[in-house]
């Protein structure tokens, strides 16, 4: 940096630059990708508890036939918020947490490409989540389902679906910005020698997900604005009486909504593809096939959206086309499963908690994938759509696949993030409770759906054969909640002991384990040079003359000692402006509902944040 040094306390722009990098207030101004990753993770976990509580209320209501515990209106709000929370405020931000924390570490970078933009993404996501949840206090939560089909969603008089539009639009801004940031990071900031095909599969899946986000979120954003305008400004995008089309929404929603499924599941696939090789002590089988199948899933994922709409009367030609594209997407998905099996084959399998959850992901996703294949059998879907069969299917994909995968990630990377190992006994208790009762919660829903129990009904009569399995499912849901408590106990327990995690507790294969646990703010003391896929493994093991894999002697001390301890490394400085800019968003949003003056105030705050941001250099000279 050749600019003239300016002392750090000289006010520029609007606010004095914050200097603290530790302590409570530093979390509000941090631009460190690791801290932002932890913020994402912590916030998403809180939303997991809220969304889980909503699920428990739903299950409590459905435990017995003709239950009157929860009225129909509240029930509609509960399942809508459960779906929105789990998709937009739990699985997406948990994936973002892992991506934020790990992408720079795994590619040998010091931070993401745009650190302040990264902070803005987090605050915008939080704003979206809080705006969505503020609806409970401001006249009623969204009640039109997470899919929000108009005209029901546009003509309902409760304000809930306006909060839906605003909250999701803000979360969408957060994800779009973050997608571009992380894609640029992966493409431009890899360590010397890390060519694309030396990237860990988790990074590849991350790259595919960022592209899916960047291309699918604009679609839903447009649709959300149309929905908001129909509700608040009297436009007629979806009003058939004035020439609008309710089906237009469905096309837009699912053109986003199906890639979204892969946005939710591919991060878990990436985690599994890291965890299985480490605990099998073998490289991932068919690395290039796993990578290309992930890319193929990303592309084909944009061509299957109308399989959510077979019953809307698109006609036999369209239904055939989307049935076939849905069949085709099963092929690259199957390839991944077989490659994971190939990875385990002939390995030296150590069943740590992380490994168990990764195996859980694979075995449960097989079930979700197979029930997904039945959705390509279009006529069968005429029966199954909008029944509990579909609820069973996507919980096997998004809970059995995504959530199990994310828990695998928690157990695997916890020591890297916090310098402390989670307890393995509690981890296994957590796994087996969750594994068994997950199947008893969602397995019976296949049966209920095939027996003709529709979704989204607050209760059901006696004598339809729904009683037993609903009760089993409810007991299962509460036991899953207990397993989450075991995890929380485990997490709290890990902080009540001294830091015990070495840099590389699992004998792992990728670069994040080459630095300390937790890593220093600058990640690596010296810039890593990469020579191969599974770089860290190849630094530890080599083949001897007979082809047998043996440990190698630790390498010589690094020649360049000038950066040890982070001296002389310029890191981006903390900043207030991402938070300020993000604070403007909810004000702009509330203004749509409560008066345009508030939107103007919000816009001023947003612009002030952006102005200060633009005037502030990325990093201060030391």
């Amino acid at each position: 940096m050749a600019s003239v040094p300016v002392p750090a306390d000289t006010p520029r722009g609007l606010l004095r630059r914050p200097t603290a990098t530790t302590g409570f207030w530093s979390w509000f101004t941090t631009v460190d990708h690791k801290k932002i990753g932890l913020l994402y993770g912590f916030t998403a976990f809180l939303f997991l508890i809220v969304g889980g509580a909503e699920a428990l209320l739903i299950r409590l209501q459905l435990a017995r036939p003709e239950s009157t515990l929860i009225d129909a209106g509240t029930y509609n709000e509960l399942f809508t918020m459960h779906g929105l929370t789990m998709v937009f405020l739990v699985v997406m931000p948990l994936s973002a947490a892992f991506f934020n924390y790990l992408i720079p570490l795994m590619i040998g970078a010091r931070d993401v490409a745009f650190p302040r933009l990264n902070a803005f993404s987090y605050w915008a996501f939080l704003a979206g989540g809080l705006v969505l949840y503020s609806s409970w206090l401001l006249g009623g939560a969204p009640n039109g389902g997470w899919f929000g089909y108009p005209p029901n969603s546009t003509t309902d008089l409760s304000p809930g679906m306006s909060f839906y539009s605003l909250g999701l639009a803000m979360a969408g801004i957060a994800s779009t910005v973050s997608a571009i940031n992380l894609a640029v990071t992966i493409i431009n900031m890899r360590a010397p020698g890390m060519s694309l095909f030396r990237m860990p599969v988790f990074i590849w899946m991350g790259l595919v997900v960022q592209f899916l986000l960047a291309f699918s979120l604009p679609i839903i954003t447009v649709a959300l604005f149309q929905l908001l305008f129909d509700r608040e400004l009297g436009t007629n995008f979806f009003n058939p009486a004035a020439g609008g089309s309710p089906l237009l929404w469905q096309h837009l929603f699912w053109l986003f909504g199906h890639p979204e499924v892969y946005i939710l599941i591919l991060p878990a696939f990436g985690i599994v593809s890291e965890v299985l090789p480490v605990f099998a002590r073998k490289p991932l089988f068919g690395y290039q096939f796993v990578v290309f199948s992930g890319i193929a899933i990303g592309f084909i994922g944009f061509g299957v959206w109308a399989h959510h709409m077979y019953a809307t009367g698109l006609g036999p030609v369209a239904n055939t086309a989307f049935g076939l594209s849905t069949i085709i997407i099963a092929v690259p998905t199957g390839v991944k499963i077989f490659n994971w099996m190939g990875t385990l084959y002939k390995g030296d399998l150590r069943f740590t908690s992380a490994m168990l959850f990764a195996i859980g992901t694979v075995t449960m996703f097989v079930i979700g994938g197979l029930s997904g294949v039945t959705h390509s059998v279009v006529p069968a879907d005429y029966q199954q759509t909008d029944t509990y069969y579909v609820v069973a299917h996507f919980h096997y994909v998004l809970f059995g696949g995504a959530i199990f995968g994310l828990f695998s990630g928690f157990f695997y990377w916890w020591p890297k993030m916090f310098g402390r190992l989670l307890d393995e006994r509690l981890g296994k208790l957590h796994f087996w409770l969750m594994m068994i009762w997950f199947n008893l919660t969602f397995g019976p829903m296949h049966v209920l759906g095939l027996q003709g129990m529709p979704r989204r009904i607050p209760t059901y009569p006696e004598g339809y054969g729904f009683d037993l399995w609903n009760l089993v499912s409810t007991i299962g849901a509460f036991t899953i909640a207990a397993s989450i408590l075991v995890f929380m106990w485990n997490a709290i327990g890990s902080f009540r002991k001294a830091k015990d995690a070495p840099a590389d507790p699992w004998d792992a294969r990728t670069l994040e384990w080459a630095t300390t646990s937790p890593p220093p703010p600058h990640n690596f003391d010296e810039v890593v040079t990469v020579h191969s896929l599974d770089e860290l493994w190849h630094r530890k093991y080599a083949e001897d003359e007979s082809g047998k894999v043996v440990p190698v002697q630790a390498g010589a001390a690094p020649e360049d000692q000038s950066h040890v301890g982070g001296h002389g490394i310029h890191l981006p400085g903390p900043s207030y402006y991402p938070l300020v800019a993000a604070l403007g968003l909810p004000l702009v949003g509330y203004g749509v509902l409560y008066g345009w003056w508030l939107s103007i105030v919000g816009a001023v705050v947003l612009l002030a944040g952006l102005y200060g941001w633009a005037m502030e250099p990325g990093a201060e000279e030391a």
């Binding site: 490289p283 055939t320 076939l324 069949i327 390839v335 529709p454 059901y460």
Partner: protein, 348 residues
């Protein structure tokens, strides 16, 4: 240890699936089709289910075997051979599933077009209108009309002849914001044992064909979230033998006898604003046609049996009996309720 527990979990899941097959008293069971259109779906789903089960057993069994066979054993440090892949295997497990899936695709496409075909010429035509939150059925064939271009209209109970296809035209009723009645929203007509479901979409006309092989009652319900009372929007398909059906039609074509006394006054002053009782009142179809209400098995979106007690309870306070009902509480006296129930019970 691991293998055993996993096997237990898998066993339990398999048992759940097996038990499903022998579920009894499931009147909406899609695995128990009762007519050719549902049977075509069932005949497609069941083989696919067994193929999927075979794949499930092979893959999960393979995973469990590998987990057991290659588990780490204490005290035996071993670095396994670093196998990076095998292109032939990759090609094999790309092509093999593709072939199996192609085998699934062929009958799927055939059935899609089969189900979308125009129904045979002898089909009965019925227009289904989805309201918030009840179903209206309009028999539009010329021989079913009750006047000049006036179709026979019923509610919540679709009476059809057995062993004859019924071609349904599906429309959503209601206005944009409802104006105190139902809003026009999306519903989904789901007669389970007689056919798959078809959405009922404002501004769009959809079609489906159903058929019941045997006389009987086939319950169904709305399957698309349609607002507050979505869970209470049921219906029943009543299949009658051809002779019984003809008798039913003849009975339904008759007009209602005029009410007198308290009931007559109430119907003229209040009920007639929304309800049609042919021969007594003619209203737009914003509420169920009551001409032959006593001939039906169920009330209010088929959530109550049609008994004196339920009818009286309904009239006492409709929104209390069915939350969200657009029929308000008219604060009727017990005497008025008694008179109305007496009259309605005569409308067979």
């Amino acid at each position: 240890m691991t293998g055993k527990r996993t096997r237990l979990a898998v066993g339990l899941a398999a048992a759940a699936v097996a038990l499903a097959a022998c579920a009894t008293n499931a009147p909406q069971d899609t695995l128990d089709p009762a007519g050719p259109y549902a049977e075509k779906i069932d005949a497609l789903f069941k083989p696919v289910f067994w193929v999927a089960t075979a794949v499930f057993l092979l893959v999960e069994g393979g995973i469990l075997y590998i987990l057991w066979r290659y588990r780490h054993r204490k005290g035996r440090e071993r670095i396994p051979p670093q196998i990076h892949g095998n292109t032939r295997l990759e090609i094999a497990w790309t092509i093999l599933p593709a072939v199996v899936l192609a085998g699934v695709a062929v009958p799927t496409v055939a059935t899609i077009f089969d189900l979308a075909a125009e129904p045979p010429g002898n089909a009965l035509n019925v227009t289904v209108r989805g309201h918030q939150w009840w179903w209206e059925f309009r028999y539009t064939d010329p021989e079913m009309q009750v006047g000049d271009n006036l179709p026979l209209v019923t509610a919540n109970e679709l009476v059809i002849p057995a062993d004859r296809p019924v071609y349904l035209t599906l429309e959503s009723a209601g206005s944009e914001f409802g104006n105190g009645l139902g809003r026009a929203v999306i519903h989904s007509f789901s007669p389970f044992r007689l056919a798959g479901k078809t959405d009922v979409i404002p501004g769009k006309t959809n079609h489906m064909t159903i058929q019941a092989d045997e006389p009987g009652e086939y319950p169904g319900q709305c399957a698309e979230l349609c607002g507050f009372s979505h869970g209470f929007m049921r219906f029943e398909v009543d299949a009658l033998s051809p002779a019984d059906f003809d008798a039913w039609v003849a009975g339904q074509k008759e007009e209602a006898a005029a009410p007198s006394g308290i009931a007559g006054d109430l119907i003229a002053s209040t009920c007639a604003a929304c309800h049609t009782i042919r021969g007594v009142s003619t209203a737009a179809s914003t509420a169920p046609d009551l001409t032959h209400v006593a001939s039906r098995d169920c009330l209010a979106g088929c959530i109550f049996p049609n008994t004196r007690e339920e009818l009286a309870a309904w009239l006492r306070d409709p929104p209390a009996r069915k939350l969200g009902s657009f029929m308000p509480d008219y604060n009727l006296s017990e005497e008025e309720i008694e008179a109305l129930v007496d009259y309605l019970e005569t409308l067979e």
